[in-house]
């Protein structure tokens, strides 16, 4: 799980071009949207596309997205549970 979280931090920074953010700025239980990282609803859509592409998991509606993308921890858990193989 920690490996997945570390991987997700890198992918989020890369996908969203968070050039002034480092992996250390992420806390597992901080909220992702509207937090100090400056992530918003458009970013969440971008991340949903990345998760689908890289992990084969669809997060294709707002209600599910709000739950899954609540924190880095909830995202990692959802991927861990739903990942194929």
């Amino acid at each position: 799980m920690q490996k997945l979280i570390a991987e997700l931090k890198e992918k989020i920074i890369d996908t969203l071009d968070l050039i002034d953010v480092t992996p250390e700025d992420f806390k597992e239980n901080d909220r992702l949207v509207g937090g100090k990282l400056g992530i918003d609803s458009i970013d969440i859509l971008e991340l949903a596309m990345m998760i689908d592409k890289d992990y084969g998991i669809k997060i294709d509606n707002k209600e599910l997205g709000q739950k899954v993308f609540a924190t880095l921890g909830t995202l990692a858990e959802y991927i861990h549970k739903n990942r194929k193989g």
Partner: protein, 719 residues
């Protein structure tokens, strides 16, 4: 004296509900839906959703589908009338994209097949076929475009500068919009159900509709409906999501009703924007409830039947509203079975008959753009006061970006006799912009924001409306969106790039930054985009202070494919210019006025017409100290011919600045040149390096900006 009234005297429509007005009317009466699974192109695995397609339209190879369906609607609007419109104003967001994306997908490297790519090529094509030589404006203000086009046409007719205008919108289905809206999770998998409790989103569709609008003091016998008023506003809130409280939508509705000279209580039916997305329907419902209180009129959205045809939607719905006025047919809110109690609205569930005197039609779009129209029964007598729109502005601030840098660096180079070619590094363009705020913005929005900041920063009062022009739109975002899509076999793409690919995205960003809630219009007119924006501003700026700007980015793959002048230009170049303007002539500031715009194709009398609008050769000789000539490289031979004809016709002997040989070949070079000309007018002189080595004082005379080539345009700048 009575003011000018504007009547719809012809209509044409192509939509999933039928090709032609009679078919559309029949479908509305029967509450039929035109939404079916996509068939126009194969959807990738897992991505087949319902769409709104036009059926039975014979697509030829001559032009892209958007152009084809636009012409079909235009021909119907003019059917049986042997007349040529004085001007054409068309809204579109996709333009030639249905063809361009196919070409890019198969790796087409030749430029010729892309010749109808531009959004502006739709109106130009219609104009050529119909032999209209007058003003052409292409509005590309996302899903508000069709409605905004009708508003501009209304103002053009009210101004007396045209007697008949063809106005409307056209958008054909393409991968960009189909996969783009899907990437935003805005598609309802079973088809749009506007206002329904279980609604999940919209249905992407195609369509076109054209209205022939005529100015008269009283209703002609051919009048179908009267265009009573229109209102424009901008949320200045978010690139793709409406203000939750619907404040921007409310502002536009209020303005349209006030412009029509009536009150909310006079509205008998509202044709909602009603896309079926959670956010749109909620914001619109709040705005409607705020405006009408306990007395909400009949209302419905037809997008559960037509789907959402983007820039065409407002024009298609203007036809629907005209039918409501003419035939008393109130269409149903197709697709909705159980209205969402949270919206507190009671949509019309089945088509009904009722005499309707006035209709409000809403259109809202990305960039927070809102446009509303009020259409009414032409038979009702109304006294309206004469309308005045001043085609002259004071310049409060100016800015430019060229390959040399900002205005000061550009002026420095020009004074030294050096060119300003090149493309400024992104870091230099962005140096005044907050890193985090612009992290998602690529080249064109950054250019535009830098221009807006510089121009507005130098003006005392902040502008509240924005008129943006671009020849090619955000090329980086468009390219990156399609590249990701095609690389993944149409499985994945970037929602950020989709939002950014919309031509009006830079204007939306500028509005958010400036908190500019007034009209927000983006136009595209190829090499004459800036002139279109200036005319649009003269027609539709309700606020005193406005920002007009034009920008284009050089994209190493797309620019040479799309822009013939960029292809043959010596050095890839880009940039733009911006002016903060105030209506009127009340001070000692520099003034700018749009004077002339005609297409030169099939227009033998264009020089005489130009001369008349400039008050004759003597006035040209005595009134102007210099000419700034816009001569796009791809039309250089024609431009030189036109210029020498103008010079010999007027006897003008002052300096002529061929500004593209200094700034480079890009569509918005005219915007930069206008901002530079303003600075020279303020200084009262042209630098000797631009005046053949001799000093050139303006001595109270103006600078005449002449656009040459496919169109001939004239703008006056004087201190």
């Amino acid at each position: 004296m009575n003011g000018i009234r504007v009547f719809i005297t012809g209509m044409g429509v192509m939509s999933p509900l039928g090709n032609g007005v009679p078919d559309l009317l029949d479908s509305l009466k029967k509450n039929r839906s035109g939404i079916k699974p996509l068939s126009l192109f194969p959807a990738s695995a897992g991505n087949l959703f319902p769409a709104g397609e036009i059926t039975g339209f014979e697509q030829t190879d001559e032009v892209p589908r958007t152009h084809g369906i636009a012409l079909a609607a235009a021909r119907e609007a003019l059917a049986g009338r042997n007349l040529i419109p004085d001007a054409i104003i068309i809204g579109t967001t996709t333009g030639g994209m249905p063809r361009t994306e196919e070409l890019l997908k198969k790796g087409e490297k030749g430029a010729d097949p892309y010749r109808y790519h531009s959004t502006s090529s739709v109106a130009e094509y219609i104009s050529d076929v119909l032999q209209c030589t007058g003003l052409v404006i292409t509005v590309t203000t996302a899903c508000a475009s069709g409605t905004a086009a009708v508003k501009l046409a209304l103002e053009l007719l009210r101004s007396g500068k045209a007697g008949r205008v063809l106005a409307g919108g056209s958008d054909a289905l393409c991968r960009l919009t189909y996969y783009g809206f899907n990437s935003l999770q805005l598609i309802d998998p079973i088809g749009a159900r506007p206002l329904d409790r279980s609604r999940r989103g919209m249905t992407v569709a195609e369509g076109s509709a054209m209205l022939l609008l005529e100015a008269a003091e009283s209703a002609p016998s051919t009048a179908i409906a009267e265009v009573m008023g229109g209102g424009l506003s901008c949320d200045a809130h978010h690139p793709a999501t409406p203000q939750p409280g619907g404040e921007g939508a409310l502002y536009a509705m209020k303005r349209a009703i006030a412009d029509a000279g009536i009150t909310a209580a006079d509205i008998g039916y509202i044709n909602l924007h009603g896309t079926g997305t959670l956010d749109n329907d909620l914001a619109e419902a709040r705005a409607v409830c705020a405006l009408f209180g306990e007395h909400v009129p009949l209302l419905s959205s037809v997008k559960g039947a037509t789907g959402h045809s983007l820039a065409a939607a407002g024009a298609v719905e203007a036809v629907v509203c005209s039918l409501a006025v003419r035939d008393g047919l109130v269409p149903a809110n197709t697709g909705c079975t159980e209205p969402d109690p949270a919206l507190n609205l009671r949509p019309v569930m089945e088509p009904m008959r009722k005499k309707i005197n006035a209709v409000l039609s809403n259109s809202f779009g990305f960039g927070g753009n809102n446009a509303c129209l009020v259409l009414g029964d032409p038979g009702i007598r109304r006294a309206i006061s004469p309308h005045k729109s001043a085609f002259r502005f004071e310049v409060m601030g100016s800015a430019c970006v060229t390959g040399a840098g900002d205005m000061e660096k550009t002026l420095h180079n020009l004074k030294q006799g050096k060119d300003c070619f090149g493309t400024l590094p992104l870091a230099d363009i962005s140096k005044k912009l907050q890193t985090r705020e612009v992290r998602r913005l690529k080249r064109l929005p950054r250019l535009s924001l830098a221009l807006a900041m510089d121009a507005a920063g130098s003006a005392a009062q902040k502008p509240s409306s924005i008129f943006f022009s671009t020849s090619w739109g955000p090329l980086s975002e468009t390219h990156d969106f399609l590249t990701k899509l095609f690389e993944s076999d149409e499985q994945f793409t970037s929602p950020t790039d989709f939002i950014g690919s919309v031509h009006n995205a830079p204007a939306g960003q500028a509005a958010i930054w400036l908190k500019a809630n007034g009209a927000n219009i983006t136009v595209t007119g190829g090499d004459y985009s800036f002139e279109q924006a200036l005319f649009a501003a003269a027609l539709a700026a309700e606020e005193e202070n406005l920002l007009i700007m034009g920008a284009d980015e050089y994209h190493e793959i797309l620019s040479p494919l799309f822009d013939g002048s960029a292809r043959i230009g010596r050095v890839p170049s880009d940039g733009g210019g911006a002016l903060c303007l105030k209506r009127g002539t009340g001070s000692s500031r520099v003034l700018i006025s749009p004077l002339f715009f005609e297409r030169s194709t099939n227009n033998r009398g264009i020089m005489e017409s130009l001369m008349r609008s400039l008050d004759g050769p003597e006035h040209v000789r005595s009134g102007y100290a210099a000419i700034f000539a816009g001569m796009p490289a791809v039309h250089k031979a024609e431009c030189k011919k036109q210029l020498s004809e103008f010079i010999s016709g007027t006897g003008f002997s002052g300096p002529i600045v061929d500004y593209r040989t200094l700034l480079g070949e890009f569509g918005s070079a005219t915007s930069a040149a206008a901002a530079i000309a303003v600075r020279f007018a303020q200084n009262g002189a042209l630098p000797p390096a631009l005046a053949g080595g001799a000093s050139c004082t303006l001595a109270g005379k103006g600078i005449l900006m002449l656009g040459l080539g496919n169109c001939i345009t004239a703008i006056e700048i004087r201190a």
